[in-house]
Each structure stands twice: as structure tokens, then as C-alpha cells.
């Protein structure tokens, strides 16, 4: 297997203005490294504010101020000049969370799907209409729906338009940013099945951002768990869900209610709220809420260390 995406020491920071001339930096993603293999799905999970979306969008340089190294299919993304970056973005496309606000209400569905090809110029002009028709069929929309406006579609259909648009430039990597979180459960199942079918048929690679561990369990091959801008655990699907090692991952999994009566895990409640991200603790960032904390945790940041094959944990007690 070859890595399609290699991210080394990625940091994404945002300036926070504090009075005259004073700026402090908020590190939404702090020194994060990971790889995504071609044809697989890496899920990044975490709670709001953990930096999961920023990490993924930071890879495509869509947010903030990124530092580190991002290699996507041989292209050094963080070093690209604006014009080269624009063209390189054909290789990475995003499916957004909100199917209502992520489509231009004044464009017809066909124009929305065509737009990335027009702006990046990936196909000769005379072939684009045929490509749009092909994309409509791939995502399960009918040809006569090409002429409709976004408000004439249901939420699930709109998300299909968003998926068709993301596929338009034949991207190497698709970032699914909470792609099914806004949908009703029955529609969510339709979209998840579509995403998996497209992955099988077209050999797509997904960077799948979600807070829903049930969905992640179903979609991913590998999972990175983030807490306050750091990856605290990285593992393949079976290891992460069957034998989580980091106290935060354990707590997160135990918090999910399930219909499986056999899955009666003892709930590990995490007390309190996360610390102030502008002023993160010096040691392990989870230390203030961890049941297993000891002095050493508070003084030094634990590195992400391999504890088994394909399983890394950032905890000195793992």
C-alpha cells in the first residue's frame, strides 16, 4: 500500500486579537501527523473544538494558517503558490455538513455540479456537460433534475448534489466534513451506502470527519481520535473499537448509547469541561479530566507512541 496523503507536524493556528497590537495564536491543530492510504477511509473523530475539521480543511489549505508538511499524491500542498494551489485543489474536494447552506440557491443543480470543472479547468469545455450527466447518474439523481434549483430538492437529494460536485474533478482525496450529521436517520443510511458504493466503484479515498462514533465504526478503516488539537489515539477499526487504550477514547466510546443489550459498558463519565484552548496545559491536555492522572502527566506532553501494530497512543499509562 502506498500513502496517498502524508501529513507531518501539521499545525493550524488562528490569530486572536487582544487589544492594541497584541495578537495571541490559537492552535486549533497542534503538531499532528498522519497518513491516509489510497482507497481507504481515515476517520478523524472528536468533540466540538477538538480540531478535527480544522485538521482536514487545513490539509487542503482551506482554513487558517498552516505549518508543517502535507504531501498529497506527490504534491507539497503547503508550499504551493496561489495559482498552483488552485489547480492542485482538483485533487482534493470537500463534502460539507449542511446541504442547505453549501449549495448556491441561485444556480441550477447542473451548474453547481459543473462549477469545479469550470473554475479549475479539469476537462475540455465540450466534455463537461456529459460529465455532469454521468455524475448525476452516479449519485442516484434523475437526468430531469439537472435543471432544478436547490430549494426544489430534499435534504438527502441536496447532499447527493454536494457529492456529485465533489466528484466532478476526479479528486484523489475527498474530505467528508460531517457529511451526514444534518440528515435524518433514514436518509443518512442512504447517503452512507452511496458513499461506500462510490468508494468501491471508483476507488475513492476519504478523510471522514465525524462526531458520530456509530457512523465512524461503519465507514472507516483507520481512526484518529483528537482532543484539543492533538491526536490522542490512532488505530485500525477493530483495535480502536474493541480495545481502545487512551482514557479519553474509552470515555468517548462508553458515552455512546446503544441498542445492543450486550454492550453494557460501565460508563466512564468525564468530569468538567475542556481547558481553555488559548492557554493549554503544559502536560497532557486531558490530564485535568482524566481518572488515571498522575504527576508525570501534568509536566510533560506524552508523545504518540506505537503500542501494537497499527495502534498508537499518546498516554504514558497506555
Amino acid at each position: 500500500m502506498t500513502a496517498l496523503l502524508t501529513v507531518e507536524n501539521l499545525s493550524v493556528r488562528f490569530p486572536i486579537k487582544r487589544g492594541w497590537g497584541k495578537t495571541s495564536w490559537l492552535y486549533a491543530v497542534d503538531d499532528v501527523s498522519f497518513e491516509v492510504q489510497r482507497g481507504e477511509t481515515l476517520a478523524i473523530v472528536g468533540e466540538s473544538g477538538s480540531g478535527k475539521t480544522t485538521a482536514a480543511l487545513g490539509v487542503a489549505r482551506l482554513v487558517g494558517n498552516s505549518g508543517g508538511k502535507v504531501d498529497l499524491a506527490g504534491e507539497d500542498f503547503l508550499a504551493l503558490e496561489p495559482e498552483a494551489l488552485r489547480r492542485a485543489r482538483a485533487k482534493v474536494q470537500v463534502i460539507f455538513q449542511d446541504p442547505y447552506s453549501s449549495l448556491n440557491p441561485r444556480l441550477r443543480a447542473e451548474a453547481i455540479v459543473r462549477e469545479p470543472m469550470d473554475s479549475i479547468g479539469t476537462l475540455p469545455v465540450d466534455q463537461r456537460a456529459a460529465r455532469v450527466a454521468e455524475l448525476f447518474e452516479q449519485v442516484g439523481l434523475r437526468p430531469e433534475q439537472m435543471k432544478l434549483f436547490p430549494h426544489q430538492f430534499s435534504g438527502g437529494q441536496r447532499q447527493r448534489i454536494g457529492i456529485a460536485r465533489a466528484l466532478a474533478t476526479n479528486p484523489e482525496l475527498i474530505i467528508c466534513d460531517e457529511a451526514v450529521s444534518a440528515l435524518d436517520v433514514a436518509v443518512q443510511a442512504q447517503i452512507l451506502n452511496l458513499l461506500r458504493r462510490l468508494q468501491r466503484d471508483l476507488g475513492l479515498t476519504y478523510l471522514f470527519i465525524s462526531h458520530d462514533l456509530g457512523v465512524v465504526q461503519h465507514m472507516s478503516d483507520h481512526i484518529a481520535v483528537m482532543y484539543m488539537g492533538k491526536i490522542v489515539e490512532y488505530a485500525d477499526r477493530l483495535s480502536l473499537f474493541n480495545s481502545p487504550r487512551h482514557p479519553y477514547t474509552k470515555a468517548l466510546l462508553s458515552a455512546v448509547p446503544s441498542v445492543d443489550q450486550k454492550r453494557k459498558v460501565e460508563r466512564l463519565l468525564i468530569p468538567g469541561d475542556p481547558p481553555d484552548p488559548l492557554n493549554p496545559p503544559r502536560g497532557c491536555r486531558f490530564a485535568s479530566r482524566c481518572h488515571f492522572v498522575e504527576d508525570a502527566c501534568r509536566s510533560e506532553q506524552p508523545p504518540l507512541t506505537e503500542v501494537a501494530a497499527h495502534h498508537k497512543v499518546a498516554c504514558i499509562k497506555a
Binding site: E47, S48, S154, G156, D184, V185, A186, V187, Q188, A189, Q190, L192, N193, R196, H211, L213, G214, V215, Q217, H218, M219, R237, L238, F241, N242, A251, L252, L253, S254, A255, V256, P257, S258, V259, D260, Q261, K262, R263, R267, L269, I270, G272, D273
Partner: protein, 328 residues
């Protein structure tokens, strides 16, 4: 069997549309017993929140109205009450918390003032007594350092803390019924676990009956005693949670359970596609039809399903409105 606390009989709520009246709630009957947790489940637009609003007497004026049936609370019919009578019950004997803890609190008053307001209005407490009780309530909903946090404004609190404040307000008058409308949908899963634990403990301590509105079957199975599955304004199925989830007698219930990827006790390599419930909830205009409204999305449907509304069939304590319930 104990006398039900709340009894809804043949409730019909009509909504004014441009094309006429549509029944958003159509012939709904259910019971809530003292101290139990009852869950309303279904997709958006199935009438879960509408039922809750009707119980609270909060249907949108001039748009929604009760067209038939009774809502009996303590033997009195709430559907016939005037505003003043409803006001004395709302927030006092029946209270409600909402999905959005960000927008349900008033941003220009401290949380203490907002809790005290309820106590002064319904219990006639003095300013000092209400304030002192507000601190006790914040403490009861496990907000650390309640004495100083009571003077905080909502924006100074996290989402989970705001929802705790909402719960404190709702429980201030020790209501007999607490309606929780998707109380954790806007919150992180670890915060959701904290809120569920809190609701469960408070329910046990105070004997408050809870109506939990949710679309999450996992939450239902952990929180509720009984459940009502709603589809297109009608009751599809109801019964005790364990048998309904292990053996649903309505294809819609079955679909709702199997279309969601649940966390399992032991994960394996197998990953079959999710069961799809094709299509979406029908448009309001078709809600009154004499047919099974789920028929268009059901793979078992036949002509009978499309031409007459199925009656409720009982399987012990479980009831299903499906012509083919006995085949499931």
C-alpha cells in the same frame, strides 16, 4: 395498574396550509404513568414535537389547533383550558426543555434570575428565598461552584452547562411531567452522557415522569421504559422498549433501528450495507388519507395498505398499526 398521569385520547391537531387543513396529528392516543420515562421516536416531520407542544398548550397560534380529542392531565382536559389555566400548569406541573440550550435562555438576564423568576411566579417566593433556591437547584444539576455561577450570564457557560440550567429551570417547581425535546442533539456525546445521567437520577429522586423526544434509538434503549414510534402524525407502534427494539412489529420501527450503524459489543470484519428506508416522509397534504402512510416506503406494502388505514393490533403490551404486523 396505576392511574395514568397524562392520558391523550384520539387527539387530532390540524395545521392551516394554503391548500386547506392538514392533520399533523391524526387520532393519537397514549398514556404516561407517574414516574416513568416515555420516548417519542420518529424522523423530523412526524409530529413528535407537535404532540409535545399540544400538551404544553403552545401550538403556534392561528396555524395549529386542536381539532378533536382530549388531553387529560390529573382528570382535567387541557385541550379545553384557557390561557390563564394553562399558564398555571406550564412551568409548574408540566415543564419542558428544548434542543437548543443557546437560544432558549434569555441572554440579558443572569441564570439565577431566570431560575428565580419561575419560583417567584409559580410559588410566590420572595426574591431572597428564590435566589437561595436557585443556588440549590444549580447544585442539584451538578454545576460546580453554584454559589458564584448563579450570577453568570448564559454566554459565560458551555453548551452542557446551559442545558443544565434549562433543566434546573424546568425542575424548579418539582413538576409531575418533564418534556425533553431532543435535549442533547446539540451537545457532544460525553456531555450527552452527563445530561442523561442527570435526568435519570433526578427522575428517580423526584418521581417526575419524563417524555423524551428523540430520533436516537440508542438513547431510547438506555433512557426510556416505554416508547411511541410516530410516523406522519400517527402512532406506528408503541410498547415497552425492550420488546419493541428486539422484535419490532411495524416495518417503520424495524427500519429506524436497522438503518443506523450502532456500536456493538464486539466489532467484526463484517460490514454489510445499512438497511435503507427508501424515500422520505410524505408531504403534509397527504397526511389525512385513508391508507397506511408508510406504504410508499415499505417493501411489504400491497393494495390493502394503500387503500385503507390499518387499525392497531395488540401483541401483549405492544401495539402496532400495520396490516402485516403478525408477519413481522
Amino acid at each position: 395498574m396505576t392511574e395514568p398521569l397524562l392520558k391523550i385520547e384520539n387527539l387530532r391537531i390540524e395545521l392551516a396550509l394554503r391548500s386547506g387543513q392538514a392533520p399533523v396529528i391524526d387520532d393519537l392516543s397514549l398514556e404516561l404513568r407517574p414516574g416513568e420515562t416515555l420516548s417519542f421516536v420518529g424522523e423530523s416531520g412526524c409530529g413528535k414535537s407537535m404532540t409535545a407542544l399540544a400538551i404544553m398548550g403552545l401550538l403556534p397560534e392561528k396555524v395549529g389547533s386542536i381539532a378533536g380529542g382530549r388531553i387529560l392531565f390529573d382528570g382535567r382536559d387541557m385541550a379545553q383550558m384557557n390561557d390563564a389555566q394553562l399558564r398555571s400548569i406550564r412551568g409548574n406541573e408540566i415543564s419542558m426543555i428544548f434542543q437548543e440550550p443557546m437560544t432558549s435562555l434569555n441572554p440579558v438576564y443572569t441564570v439565577g434570575e431566570q431560575i428565580a423568576e419561575v419560583l417567584r411566579r409559580h410559588k410566590g417566593m420572595s426574591k431572597q428565598a428564590a435566589w437561595a433556591r436557585a443556588i440549590e437547584l444549580l447544585d442539584a444539576v451538578r454545576i460546580p461552584n453554584a454559589k458564584s455561577r448563579v450570577s453568570d450570564y448564559p454566554h459565560q457557560m458551555s453548551g452542557g452547562q446551559r442545558q443544565r440550567v434549562m433543566i434546573a429551570i424546568a425542575l424548579a417547581c418539582a413538576p409531575k411531567i418533564l418534556i425533553a425535546d431532543e435535549p442533547t442533539t446539540a451537545l457532544d456525546v460525553t456531555v450527552q452522557a452527563q445530561i442523561f445521567d442527570l435526568l435519570r437520577d433526578l427522575g428517580r429522586e423526584t418521581g417526575t415522569a419524563i417524555i423524551l423526544i428523540t430520533h436516537d434509538m440508542g438513547a431510547v434503549s438506555e433512557m426510556a421504559d416505554r416508547m411511541v414510534v410516530m410516523y406522519a402524525g400517527r402512532k406506528a407502534e408503541d410498547g415497552p422498549v425492550a420488546p419493541v427494539i428486539s422484535h419490532p412489529r411495524h416495518p417503520y420501527t424495524k427500519g429506524l433501528i436497522s438503518c443506523v450503524p450502532h456500536l456493538l459489543a464486539k466489532l467484526t470484519e463484517q460490514r454489510p450495507d445499512l438497511t435503507e428506508v427508501p424515500g422520505i416522509v410524505p408531504a403534509l397534504a397527504s397526511f389525512g388519507a385513508d391508507a397506511c402512510l408508510f406504504a410508499s416506503r415499505c417493501d411489504m406494502a400491497d393494495d390493502k395498505c394503500r387503500s385503507s388505514r390499518p387499525p392497531e393490533v395488540a401483541f401483549g403490551e405492544q401495539h402496532s398499526a400495520c396490516w402485516k404486523a403478525d408477519q413481522l
